[in-house]
Symmetry: C2
Subunit: 387 residues, 2 copies
């Protein structure tokens, strides 16, 4: 186990009928809130009204900044920073999934900064101060509700970059699984796949071979995510499935499973970010394509850990590591297909001839994320394996 | 899954060569520290000197309050409160295991209180304020380093009572596994058994049948604790074993595994507290005796969950739940014996004729901890099953 520091200060309020607590919880952080949210669904469901009422009842004044789209845009973040400054808000409230929360985090860091917010993403500046942030989560997927990470897409440069700082951790996040019952089946599955990808990035890029309890945590999370996803595939209103998936996706990326792993990488996310920066691809759908391709290549190189995954998570009973490793990856891919997720670039509408371009476009993020082994040739090989 | 609030603000600094960080970390919390510690071992090992040097180098003035014994005494806590008040300390530093940290917590709550500290344990008063607390952990067992619980023994009344409040969470805990290499084999094993007991209390007293990911976390923890304990049984200096056991015992009782379980009880701890309040019994040794007795009786009543434990944790392959449940308990008891832990009252020097007395003496804590089903008859039955 590697040395680590773990200090996750986000307060989680989890369960049925908890949304109203956004009012008193936010009132402890500030009196004038920038309310960041997405597009139609939160309005149509009545959730936005519920949140606004709770905030107003608690004495919090609201400045609205709706319209965040998936793969959230820098231009919208910048507009939010301008609005927050003009209206002198002292707290940010995010009501949405990872895209909304990440936008809210970027705004919370950008308001007190004396330079453009994009410099945080290129690594040219580091975050020194943020406005406090409270969240109501509406999608089980990204894990942003309990970590200090954020991902934003640069509109003009078509770069989807991420960065992290513990000052970005929300002060409080409200996780009411019933809120997610309106998420359609495909996006429910994509959320589950996103959470699985977060875990597998850690699990397979960790260089330390001696992380037994972290491995068991990660394996338990994946099994539980798959079980809850299957419950929801059969019945989108299943409370147990919604609750398990929501809590598992939070735990998948809140630092607990990663504590002690040492340096890990996000190569699958790096490649997927390039896909969704250039094509209109849902993040989880992109990961469903990139993951089996990347896993297959790595399983050949390092069968031992993949065999452990195959045996403990996917139920493979092969005697040799090589066979258990390959079978584990094949079974995961089959499970994605069973859940109606795409597993090839073609299903995303991406032609094979685009691969060289995408490989080249992946390089800037590979550099920022310090994935030194990922050159054009290797990314091309991985993307070819995703066909 | 039940609704929950989770807000664990303790900062963990984990790994080799981290002890020196107690200086700068404590300096952020206060300038005059009451340094609470135990008896010979921390002096003999040189660790106390190392901690004092780190504090002094960081500009923190030290008031010493050593001499905490295992099953820590109220009288010593009260003396610490008097000393802290007289010297006007503004931060508490605990250097030790659960007994030392619990004493430090009780002092941190007692100093600002206008009444005797024991009232927190009887439930007559609740904690409103504490002094900040930093810790250097020296024993992997109690989990006190990352939670808001504390257990203290009343000298005169021979009551060993526990209570909890999130204000008792240490601000920072330093977990250097190498510090625990001097712990002898028996206390290393008792620490592992204490951590297993914490997990099994949650696992088996949880009333909610739908806690899949929590179950897998708890099962993974127990497997990892047993593996690390076996490594240490063979070699007390094994770093991986020390590191895994330390981190697992912290996670066993820091609220993560319990989040979503709803109301749980501590019946095994309740009974063990009575044993160690009346006999000179190490807490983990007492639990090694109480646990198989309690488990055996419960496994008969609720075989399904015990069968899951038997199959997933103890590797039982019986087809019927009843057989897998009973075999699981038997294998755990055998494992305790393999680790040279006592598994009968006689091995603790407690005669069978003391059982009625012990059952009666358990009642006050059963009442304070709201274990409504635990009357004299049932506790007698459990203790008889521990013979």
């Amino acid at each position: 186990m590697q040395n680590f520091v773990l200090h996750n200060q986000t307060k989680i309020i989890f369960g049925r009928d908890t949304v109203g607590q956004i009012g008193p919880e936010t009132a402890q952080l500030g009196s004038k809130a920038l309310l960041v949210y997405g597009q139609q669904s939160i309005i149509a469901s009545g959730l936005l009204t519920q949140i606004k009422t709770a905030l107003t009842d608690a004495g919090v004044t609201i400045v609205e900044h709706g319209g965040v789209q998936s793969n959230p845009l820098l231009s919208h973040v910048r507009a939010g920073i301008d609005l927050a400054r003009a209206k002198n808000v002292d707290v940010i409230v995010a009501a949405g999934g990872g895209s909304v929360i990440d936008s809210a985090k970027a705004i919370s860091a950008g308001v007190p900064a004396v330079h453009d917010v994009w410099k945080f993403f290129t690594g040219k500046k580091s975050i020194k101060q943020t406005l406090p942030l409270s969240c109501v989560l509406t999608l089980a997927a990204a894990g942003s509700e309990m970590n200090g990470g954020m991902v934003i897409t640069h509109d003009d440069k078509q770069l989807k970059f991420g960065t992290g700082n513990k000052l970005l951790n929300p002060q409080v996040s409200i996780l009411d699984p019933t809120v997610t019952c309106s998420v359609p089946r495909d996006y429910t599955v994509y959320g589950a796949i996103d959470a699985i990808a977060h875990i597998l990035e850690f699990y397979f890029t960790c260089k330390d071979p001696a992380t037994p309890v972290q491995d068991r945590f990660m394996e338990g999370l994946i099994v539980s995510i798959m079980e809850s996803c299957e419950r929801l595939y059969a019945d989108l209103d299943d409370y147990q499935g919604r609750a398990d998936l929501m809590w598992c996706s939070t735990m998948a990326l809140n630092g607990w499973t990663a504590a002690g792993l040492g340096l890990v990488g996000f190569p699958m996310h790096m490649i997927e970010h390039t896909l969704s920066a250039h094509y209109n691809v849902a993040h989880g759908a992109g990961l469903a394509v990139v993951m089996p391709g990347w896993l297959l290549i790595q399983a050949n190189k390092n069968p031992e850990k993949f065999a452990q995954f195959g045996r403990r998570v996917m139920g493979c009973e092969h005697n040799t590591d090589q066979a258990a490793a390959m079978e584990g990856v094949a079974r995961l891919k089959s499970w994605f297909q069973k859940m109606d997720a795409p597993t090839s670039l073609a299903e995303l509408g991406i032609e094979k001839k685009a691969i060289p371009f995408l490989a080249k476009e992946s390089l800037p993020l590979a550099k920022v994320w310090r994935l030194k082994n990922y050159n054009e040739q290797i990314i091309t090989e991985i993307l070819t394996s995703c066909c």
